[in-house]
């Protein structure tokens, strides 16, 4: 036991909640979780949102977010129970023995201070190095993690570097005080896949070369399998199982783990393009203001009852394309033809019928619904607006729609706040369907959802497509989703279409460089995948 670094015993974490209209009460967030971590090892904590994985990770630093508090159990670090040291004790270990890498480095860096000042701050505050030593170590790490211009990188402000660079800078910040343990809290979740792979490789290299131990928290099993020695699966604040990464992936014991491993069990038969597309967008070029051109000559078609998936990284122009098609952003060139008639470029000039036949579903179901309206009002609104349905007829139709989205009449009087994330998205789908549209634009509709819930939404969308013969323009950055549901695919990069066609064609080699990069960056549920890809890339670049 000499090498034992962290030993959490029977951890119990509570929080006080203040639900509207009810008295404040305590809820249990984590119950009876124990874990141990040896020096230099990496333990992955995995689970869906609400599983308590971040809360457990932060408990190693004696930290509770919001009103969260450690209510029971012991947290032993380097042979002492940190719960006995009080606030002063916590401050001594934070930033010295244990450091933290947050999900969004863009938010976690202070916008008013230069990177170097922030990166060396912890080491200086704990008197572990002089300014000079800390800066030298930071520059070393910048070089090691592949940051550009390492000598001057630290003199920039956070907004002056890219998201992937910031995430690596945050890893450097965690490494400078030479801690025994780093808590990585979803460090690559907010990044594009092509950026994620670089950051993941950098983190893995940093862990290997400094010998630091890590708790790696994520909801993405394929990602954690690349960096962790062992994985602990959590659900609803309790441990489901813990095993070596290898065994969790290849030989899961519990049913829940098996579901996580085998997610994406969607069956979908690809349909061939028809002669009569419902939507034709021709040579679209668009810009925000007069300066920044975000779409260059994009042409796509969507066929009745089929799905066109538009994939690309953030900033590729895929959401802008949706804004052009809906009329929210008039393009300066190009035409949008819908069901044989040419749409006006501007939203204000489109007829009610134009509006009805083209509906939208958004990423954030939360903000797409009025929090003060009931489900019945929300779904009933398009029925009234487009078809003039009132009273009993309207209610009957709302119930039918609820039935279609696999929710019952008991939801009629609920408010959005009383629904789960998946249920909210279902209500948004019902609202879009209520207009009986020919085409629904789905903008990242599953990105904010946990994998199992997202799976359910995708299956629902496919079933509805068959039943209602509605077409989807499906915008996403997630290639696994694309593979699962698309009939045709449009790959976008920096405002241009780089690859376009039926799914099998687009996904069959030979690829162009960008599509190749994109496809090979999607993490696979396989130990050693990261090394394979990186090796493959080095060989390719050597070959060139």
């Amino acid at each position: 036991m000499a090498d034992m670094l962290l030993d959490i015993r029977n951890l119990r974490i509570e929080a006080t909640v203040y639900p509207p209209g009810e008295p404040a009460h305590d809820i249990i967030i984590v119950e009876d979780v124990s874990l141990t971590l040896e020096k230099g090892k990496v333990l992955g904590l995995i689970g869906e949102s609400g599983a308590g994985k971040s809360t457990i990770g932060l408990s190693a630093m004696g930290y509770g977010r919001g009103g969260v508090r450690i209510a029971g159990g012991e947290v032993w670090l380097n042979g002492r129970d940190i719960m006995k040291g009080g606030m002063r004790g916590f401050r001594k270990l934070r930033g010295k023995e244990v450091t933290y890498v947050a999900q969004s480095a863009a938010a976690a860096f202070n916008p008013a201070k230069k990177l170097m000042e922030q990166i060396t701050e912890a080491a200086l505050a704990h008197g572990m190095a002089s300014q000079k030593q800390a800066e030298a170590r930071a520059v070393d790490l910048f070089t090691h993690l592949g940051l550009p211009d390492p000598n001057n990188f630290g003199s920039r402000y956070p907004h002056q570097v890219s998201g992937g660079q910031l995430q690596r800078a945050m890893t450097v910040m965690a490494l400078v005080p030479e801690p025994d343990l780093i808590v990585f809290d979803e460090p690559t979740t907010a990044l594009d896949v092509t950026t994620q792979i670089d950051v993941l490789a950098a983190i893995k290299r940093a862990i290997r070369d400094t010998g630091v131990a890590a708790l790696y928290i994520t909801h993405d099993l394929a990602v954690v399998a690349q960096v962790a020695d062992e994985i602990m699966v959590l659900r609803g604040g309790r441990k489901v199982e813990r095993n070596t990464a290898e065994n969790i992936i290849n030989n899961p014991q519990e049913e829940y783990t098996r579901a996580l491993v085998s997610v994406r069990s969607i069956e979908h038969e690809e349909k061939k393009p028809t002669a009569d597309p419902v939507l034709v967008a021709r040579d679209i070029s668009a810009a925000y203001g007069n300066a920044i051109q975000v779409l260059k000559d994009v042409s796509i078609e969507v066929h009745p009852g089929q799905t066109l998936a538009v994939v690309g990284e953030s900033g590729s122009g895929k959401s802008t394309l949706a804004r052009v098609i809906t009329g929210l952003l008039p393009p300066f060139e190009g035409t949008v033809t819908f069901a044989g008639r040419t749409f006006s470029r501007a939203l204000a000039k489109r007829s009610k019928e134009d509006l009805r036949e083209l509906q939208m579903i958004y990423q954030m179901a939360d903000t797409a619904m009025n929090p003060r309206q009931t489900v019945e009002t929300i779904i009933g609104r398009p029925l009234d607006f487009y078809f003039g349905l009132k009273g009993r007829k309207k209610r009957e139709r709302v119930m039918e729609l609820l039935e279609e989205i696999e929710m019952g009449a008991e939801f009629l009087d609920r408010y959005p706040a009383e629904l789960s994330g998946g249920q909210k998205q279902r209500v948004c789908i019902a609202r879009a369907l209520a207009a009986k549209p020919k085409l629904i634009i789905c903008d990242e509709v599953t990105s904010a959802l946990d994998p199992l819930v997202a799976d359910g939404i995708l299956k629902l969308l496919l079933r509805l497509q068959k039943a209602e013969d509605v077409a989807y323009l499906f915008i996403t950055h997630d290639l696994a989703t694309v593979k699962a549901i698309a009939d045709s695919i449009a790959v976008m990069y920096q405002g241009s279409l780089v690859r376009y066609g039926p799914k099998t064609e687009v996904l069959t080699p030979p690829f162009d460089d960008y599509t190749d990069l994109l496809l090979s960056s999607v993490p696979e549920m396989k130990i050693g995948w990261l090394e394979e890809v990186l090796e493959h890339r080095t060989m390719e670049s050597a070959g060139n």
Binding site: R91, A107, P111, H126
Partner: protein, 318 residues
């Protein structure tokens, strides 16, 4: 840097334009006041001939736009005109008064601004605990009491009972700085009590708002002490709203201190303005109005400039 410069030039140009509009407003406003200047100067003794003569002499018979232009021309060359009531040059008179007002405002600000920010920081550090509640309670009480009441209470205790400070704040040029400060100690105290609460509460609110940010959590997880977290990480990001409210209060210290000046018989702008409003001395009222407007616009301009300059995104573009 070009972007910042452009924004600054834009702001300053807008400020000047605003000042021009205000001058028009001041002129029109005093123009439509009921009553006639000549009539009010001559009072009961007015005869139709003397009224006509006086009007001619004052140039009141000329069309309003012309009078506005000649007034504006005078203002731009530093000539604010002559007071109707006593025939003295307004520029020299205001010069003295404005100097006194700025002197009082300056020292009140020197005490109030750092104190308000310090109290705001303390309130955040001990939020929802007794120091926070004590600070909030005391500052709220001091702003709720009318100035004349606190003024007379202070006079009663510190001038009458304890005899530490004079009750009448008379200052003249031959006094040393310390003597002057001693003379205006009580008005400063009253002004500080009035402006403290507003600035302190804004500081507290602005910093608490920033305290929700993810980078505050980062700072806490570095093991920094709570005060370091607040001062080094939260405060720099809350500067813009704090400066805005500080400037509004500074403007109040210059233009809104009539009551305090009257209580302490302090020869400042406020008293001067009130005297001449009651005498219907239009040129003086116009001049005071314009100067007050210039102070307001100028201080708000400073607030704008500070928020632009402290924004790292503008100062260091990609």
């Amino acid at each position: 840097m070009g972007q910042v410069l452009k924004l600054l030039v834009q702001r300053i140009a807008l400020g000047l334009l605003l000042l021009l509009l205000v001058s028009l407003l001041v002129f029109v406003g005093t123009e439509i006041l009921p009553g006639d200047v000549a009539q009010s100067i001559l009072g009961q003794a007015a005869t139709p001939t003397s009224l006509a003569n006086l009007r001619e002499e004052l140039g009141l018979n000329e069309p309003a736009p012309l009078r506005y232009l000649s007034w504006l021309g005078g203002v731009l060359t530093g000539d604010l005109g002559t007071a109707l009531s006593n025939g003295q040059d307004i520029t020299t008179q205001i010069g003295l008064r404005l100097g006194n007002t700025l002197f009082l405002a300056f020292w009140a600000a020197v005490v109030a601004v750092p104190l308000a920010i310090l109290l705001g920081l303390l309130a955040v550090r001990y939020r929802n605990r007794w120091p926070d509640k004590l600070i909030s309670g005391l500052t709220l009480a001091s702003i709720s009491l009318p100035e004349f009441f606190t003024g007379y209470v202070l006079i009663f205790f510190f001038a009458v009972k304890l005899r530490w400070f004079p009750s009448v704040a008379t200052v003249y040029d031959s006094m040393s700085l310390l003597e002057k400060l001693n003379a205006i100690a009580l008005p400063i105290a009253v002004l500080v009590m009035v402006v403290l609460a507003h600035m302190m509460r804004m500081t507290r609110a602005a910093i608490l708002n920033v305290m929700q940010s993810a980078y505050i959590e980062t700072a806490e997880l570095k093991g920094l002490s709570p005060f370091k977290v607040i001062f080094r990480h939260a405060f720099p990001n809350a500067v813009a709203p704090i400066v805005n409210v500080v400037m509004l209060n500074l403007a109040y210290l210059v233009v809104g201190v009539v009551v305090v000046e009257v209580i302490f018989v302090y020869p400042g702008m406020g008293q001067y303005l009130v005297d001449h409003v009651s005498k219907r001395d239009v040129p003086v009222v116009q001049a005071c109005g314009l100067i007050f407007a210039a102070v307001y616009i100028g201080l708000n301009l400073v607030a704008d400039i500070v928020s632009i300059v402290t924004n790292p995104r503008l100062r260091h573009p990609k």
